[in-house]
Amino acid sequence: MAVLSATEVEQRPTHPPKNKARWTASEEASGLALISPTLLYAVALLFLPILIVVAYSFWTQDYLTIDRTFTLQNYKTALGEPIYQDLLVRSLVISLVVSVVTVTLSYPIAWFISFHGGVHKNLWLFLITVPCWTSYLLRVMSWKVILGYGGVMNTGLLSIGIIDKPLTSLLYNSNAVVITLVHSWAAFAILPIFVSLEKVDRSLIEAAHDLGDNKLMSFLRVTLPLSLPGVISAFLIVMIPTVGDYVTPKLVGGKDGVMIATAIQAQFGKGANWPLGAALSVTTMVIVSAMAGIAVLALKLLVRMAK
């Protein structure tokens, strides 16, 4: 019953041939030329400091003098000392928990705004950015007020009679760090997820319904996979900076919530061991990059399985 003709079946999308001679006249070249001042500036300010840090991590410090002979001793300490291992693992676990919780909480919000925001989408987005208008420090401090011994949470729970004396377990531990970080980063997770949901063609969702899916199935089979780029960027945007967060653990983390950044800061400050601090930084960077890669792959795998 083959009734459709094959005349145009063989057409393939054609790619313009690459022509090296005319590269200088191409859009790519003029684009690079346009961004070059900013690019040079960014490269100078991003890669030079990183290079310096990497260089330091292979040197040794003796009080105020730097010994520039190559050594791996700093990395042995960074990876071998139990205290640094613990801090590193705790930082990674906290940042992973923070990014999973943030993305999980942000997705429904982004979804709601994108699909049910109606004509007020922009207003909703605007409201979400409002907390970011105050300083990061103030937002962290406000959680101290909420979670503290005489804080909003404890007085609230006391007055409705759920507890009979204030809880001390709310503040100065890793939970407090997670709660504070999730709140700080939510807006940065909602926006990329929202953008990728906005790009999902609504007729694709209708097609899924037309082909028999109910609302849940069309979400799992169409909306979620197509919004995955937003989920991945949200995940990375939250995870990468939180590993090295310094302010939040310092203010609400207590002894139990110390993270690797505190140890690094100590080496550059009181410890006066810049090379060890540098080695800790580089180790953290490498591990975070690896974890980010693994997380991205895992997410993609998960979606492929759902299909």
């Binding site: 083959a2 079946v9 393939r12 209708e206 097609a207």
Partner: protein, 362 residues
Amino acid sequence: MPETPMITIEAVNKFYGIYKALDDVSLDIAAGEFFSLLGPSGCGKTTLLRSIAGFDTPSTGDIRIDGQSVIGTPPNRRPTNMVFQNYAIFPHLDVEENVAYGLKRLKLDASGERRRVGAALDQVRLGHLGKRRAHELSGGQRQRVALARALVMRPKVLLLDEPLSALDKKLREEMQVELRSLQKAVGITFILVTHDQYEALALSDRIAVMFGGRIAQVATPKEIYQRPTTRQIADFLGGMNFMKARITGETATRLSVETPRFGGVTLDKPLGFNARNGTATIGIRPERLRVLWDDAKADFELAGRVVDRHYFGEITHLIVDVPGMEQPLSVSETNNFGADDIPVGDAVRLAYDPDALVALSD
């Protein structure tokens, strides 16, 4: 229609706020029929199609599919499938996965599913492109994927929203032929939405012409073209010469009129005809007027002067001013005898058949 219709639309109204997108629409569509909804952009065709599919809900009225009211039934539980105007091919799936999308729910075994997908792809001649992604397909190929994806579900009714309007003219004409034979082959009801009158005329068993949310006429392509009931329909479908005529007699089905230059004629009275001040609008298609060459004679003749000429390849449109008529006549003549060489300003004689005249409601 003796058996129960496949689709019954009964007094459907659809409001968007105070705007009435569908105005008292009633229709019966038979099983196995190729039915077209034809009308200008914004007349409510898509709204009606989406109401049948379940994406829009009528404000009032009833829609029955195969005897069952489907008001309140979501699209995923209606025996209809749709070919979307932009094709809506899932970009994260390849061609085979797109076609298999709706089958997943049926929990067929792997080989059964593969066989059905393969058969559907063969039906639209895409068997060799199963592993391609949407962005690697041309417009015509996407359209075939959308068709296969809907047909593989074996719906009772296939709904097509302007499926060919994104294709270039040559491909569109090819696909029209193929769509028609595909419908013959699968034998299910097709409902096609289009704003292209030639497409509707070429494909359909019957056509519903819509204007402003209302159905103006439902008939076979030939009837719609030859016996349009209103001036608007006649104008939308291919153009027509109009003139005012004085009514001299009227029965239940017939109308006698005295025309300015076509003499006295008795015509079929269109449905819902209302005389205004004792006059009626009479029309004649441009191709029903022929140029009389040299001293050829005809039973019914008109004399006039060519005031303009438009060349269209196989035909030429002559604009002929006939003394005593309000507006010049448009004449569509083949170029076989040299109509494209008649100089503007020349006198011509035209032949016509009084049977070609139709009475129209305004």
